[in-house]
């Protein structure tokens, strides 16, 4: 008897209070959103093969990149690891039988779906062409798209984040098994915890901003439109006050997953555990202080720009520390290169490049050139796709045997990891050069000298699509035909590996007692 065969029928899933089943609800819905956002990206890349705007109309192109951004940020990246693996694993890692608030957990999924429904309606009922950033006064006074419906969708989905965040925070504080002290927690839990703090503290700012935007658009009350006495720079401040920390909502859980995978496949305790835990908290804290680096040429005071630049450099230090500590974890390890490890190592390489190019755009004089060009596009895709999605894939493969009780086909998974790594670099590395040479982002048609690099980029996007479709196929295949996984196929440490695969409905027959630190790879489990 496990959580999968504990009940049958649609009702047993849609009304479930089991955190593991809620995780599945999220898995299925965000996978749908991922491929929807991916389809929009495919159209964008197809259009950009030629300099002329010939495949799509300008309006359709603008709608496609807006759809891509909105869906990927709010309906895939932000919920991704927390809502799926976080939901599934947090109670298991804590030695708990469920979340602190199982009903709230289910409700947050329904809120998520409601928000998604609004946004999809917006796309069908007229489209949205503001980009994911909703900059005013374009979004409030000039766009003809369904801005209100889309913003309502994002507003609603914010509550899903907040509910998940509250649940995780309370669960981590109150539901830890006896003996599981804070410094015995896996780094995955630290990462979920820090992410939840950001979700709870930053998301309300976005909600308020979207309400103000809606009020201005619907009733013409001047808040951001200077023609009505408002201030468009104020919108940028409020938007980025949420949206920069949101980057860390995406990234911190990824760092948690990678820490688990590296420790397991190097079969060694993570190097500098406390430094890793505190650097997660430091990133979460400093992440709130750097929003102005999105606005170096916006017309905000240039001396404010200097302060934000300095803070942005400082937030990079704990990230650099994490990379060094992962490398040090490999030292004298017993390294296996299974697919989760390949994805985790991809994360390190791509996050490194994404982080270092982040230092380029944090450098004020360079950002004058790079702001709003493809350099920025490439930079944040290295962080969010190269980093975050690689970590998502690492975690998905790592815990797939635990979640489903089946092994995925290892060879295909390694092929997929390699295709994704190569395709990703081919897609996004040329965009650094494009941006440095001055190609602005969100351009439907572009100057002819940019064509060659765009052709590389579009070819890479094709590879990337193959690399992401493969896992969809073989993971579904493995649900029925994959070999049965034992409780601990990777010889990993951690409470989630002490229970059967798939875990029983109540997780632990008896509440475990913890008497050792996480990553006790030097002692047999």
């Amino acid at each position: 008897m496990n959580y999968l065969n504990a009940g049958y029928g649609l009702k047993s899933w849609l009304l479930t209070l089991d955190h593991k089943r809620v995780a599945w609800l999220y898995f299925i819905s965000i996978t749908g959103f991922f491929f929807l956002g991916g389809a929009a990206a495919t159209l964008v890349r197809l259009e950009l093969i030629t300099p002329a705007g010939d495949l799509l109309s300008s309006d359709a192109y603008n709608q496609m990149f807006s759809l891509h951004g909105i869906v990927m940020v709010w309906f895939f990246l932000i919920p991704s690891i927390p809502a799926t693996m976080g939901n599934f694993l947090l109670p298991l890692m804590l030695g708990a039988r469920d979340m602190a608030f199982p009903r709230l957990n289910l409700m947050s999924w329904y809120v998520f779906i409601l928000g998604g429904a609004f946004t999809l309606t917006a796309v069908i009922a007229g489209g949205i062409d503001t980009g994911w950033t909703f900059y005013t006064p374009y979004s409030t006074m000039f766009s003809n798209g369904a801005v209100l419906a889309a913003a309502t969708g994002v507003f609603i989905v914010g509550f899903s984040s907040i509910l998940t965040g509250i649940n995780f925070i309370v669960t981590t504080h109150k539901m830890r098994a006896p003996g599981l002290t804070w410094f015995r927690l896996p780094l995955f839990v630290w990462a979920q915890y820090a992410t939840s703090l950001i979700m709870v503290l930053a998301t309300p700012v976005l909600s308020i901003t979207l309400v103000l935007l809606g009020v201005e658009r619907a009733f013409g009350i001047g808040i951001f439109d200077p023609a009505l006495g408002g201030d468009p720079i104020l919108f940028e401040h409020l938007f980025w006050f949420y949206s920069h920390p949101a980057v860390y909502i995406m990234l911190l859980p990824a760092m948690g997953v990678v820490s688990e995978a590296i420790a397991c496949f190097a079969h060694k305790r993570i190097f500098g555990y406390k430094v890793m835990a505190f650097s997660i908290l430091a990133i979460a804290l400093f992440g709130f202080l750097v929003w102005g680096h999105h606005m170096f040429v916006s017309g905000q005071s240039i001396y404010a720009g200097v302060a934000f630049s300095l803070l942005s450099f400082l937030v990079s230090v704990p990230s650099a520390l994490k990379i060094f500590n992962w490398l040090a974890t490999l030292y004298k390890g017993h390294i296996r290169f299974d697919a989760p490890m390949l994805f985790a190592l991809s994360f390190i390489g791509l996050f490194l490049i994404g982080g270092l190019t982040g230092v380029f755009v944090a450098t004020l004089a360079l950002d004058i050139q790079m702001h709003d060009t493809y350099f920025v596009v490439a930079h944040f895709h290295y962080i969010m796709v190269g980093g975050m999605v690689s970590a998502y894939m690492a975690g998905l493969h790592f815990w797939w045997p635990k979640i489903t009780g089946r092994l995925y086909p290892e060879m295909w998974a390694r092929v997929s990891a390699i295709i994704v790594f190569a395709g990703f670099n081919l897609t996004f590395f040329p965009q650094f050069i494009l941006g440095w040479a001055g190609m602005p982002r969100r351009y439907h048609a572009y100057a002819e000298e940019f064509q060659l690099l765009n052709v590389f980029s579009s070819a890479g996007a094709g590879m990337l699509a193959v690399g992401y479709l493969l896992p969809l196929l073989y993971l579904i295949w493995s649900l029925r035909y994959g070999a049965r996984a034992g409780g601990n196929p990777w010889d990993a440490r951690g409470l989630e590996w002490t229970v059967a695969s798939p875990p029983p409905k109540e997780n632990f027959a008896t509440v475990p007692r913890v008497d050792s630190e996480a990553y006790a790879y030097d002692t047999p489990q």
């Binding site: 062409d129 000039f142 468009p232 240039i302 004298k332 004020l364 004058i368 001055g438 572009y446």
Partner: protein, 326 residues
């Protein structure tokens, strides 16, 4: 840009054509080298550890103080990272201030050009009154100061070859200064997404040798300088009725105002820059001068952005010596 039509370029060394672009490139390549070394180091370590410590390899795993944590190692790699970051931060910040807050050229020979962005075109007006759309002619070596505003949404004035960019905001004046150092035609882009034809909001900066530029100026119609037009508009809109010398209404005198601190009725002072002059016409109750009653009517939606720039230029011309203000 002789090879601008060539589609098959790697663009590693984009055209560099302003007084600051060379400095920006030096900083860029210094960072490419520094970051490239870090990437090479990390990938080498990954490779070496990956091979040496692969599962089942004969390499020794005997205990070592570096296995699980080491404070001096953590401090040891934080400090060089922090030092390098501070170095590049300072370099970037100094150059940024130099680009976006430059001193007025010593000979006072900066060409003042008004720029209006609107969906989806760039409109320019030269100090001689010449107007252009999407193309801006300038002379090589002569500093150009742009006073920019938008008629609708946010745009951004971006000339990659000059390594300059500045957002252009509605109801707000932003400024940008550059000195072209090469003759040629350089692409101008709108960099801030502004709606349907955002990617069509492109133009060119045409940099000419000074003599050719003088010829070009001579060939063009001169409908009147912004100051002259502004003086006419000052009477036409009735400004002179209160702010004129012979007026009986008590209104602030505008002679010698530009660039000076203005004490406000609400306390505090503001500097009488272009933005202040514009706000005082459109939102007169925003900054009421100390000792005056808030009786001036708003001219919001009555005066076009072009005319506002001309009025501003006229009021600015009432102050003889131009201070270093936008």
């Amino acid at each position: 840009m002789a090879d601008a039509d060539d589609r098959w370029q790697l663009l590693l060394f984009p055209e560099s054509a302003s007084s600051v672009s060379g400095q920006v490139d030096t900083l860029f390549w210094a960072m490419v080298v520094a970051c490239g070394l870090v990437v090479a180091l990390v990938f080498t370590v990954l490779l070496v550890f990956g091979i040496r410590y692969r599962r089942g390899s004969p390499a020794s795993r005997r205990g070592s103080p570096l296995l699980y944590h080491n404070r001096w190692l953590e401090i040891g790699w934080s400090i060089p990272v922090l030092a390098a970051f501070l170095f590049f931060f300072a370099w970037g910040a100094l150059l940024y201030v130099e680009i976006l807050d430059p001193p007025t050229p010593e000979d006072g020979d900066a060409r003042r050009v008004n720029v209006i962005g609107k969906q989806w075109m760039w409109k320019f007006q030269h100090p001689e009154g010449i107007r252009e759309i999407n193309t801006l002619h300038v002379a090589v070596g002569q500093t150009v100061r742009l006073r920019m505003t938008s008629q609708d949404v946010i745009h951004s004035f971006f000339v990659p070859a000059f390594r300059i960019k500045q957002d252009v905001l509605p109801q707000t004046y932003t400024r940008l200064q550059f000195t072209p150092t090469k003759v040629g035609r350089f692409d101008l882009y709108c960099a801030e997404y502004c709606g349907l034809s955002h990617s069509g909001m492109v133009g060119e900066v045409v940099v000419m040798p000074p003599s050719e530029f003088q010829d070009w100026l001579a060939r063009r119609d001169r409908p009147g300088t912004p100051q002259q037009d502004g003086e006419r508009l000052f009477r036409q809109y009735g400004c002179s009725g209160c702010h004129g010398e012979a007026s009986s209404v008590r209104a602030p005198d505008l002679g010698g105002l530009y660039g000076k601190p203005v004490p406000l009725e609400s306390g505090g002072t503001v500097t009488a820059d272009a933005q202040y002059l514009r706000d005082s016409i459109v939102f007169p109750s925003k900054h009421v001068v100390a000792g005056y009653a808030p009786i001036m009517p708003s001219f919001k939606d009555q005066i076009s952005e072009e005319d506002l720039l001309k009025l501003t230029a006229y009021i600015q011309s009432l102050t003889p010596e131009e201070p270093d203000a936008p």
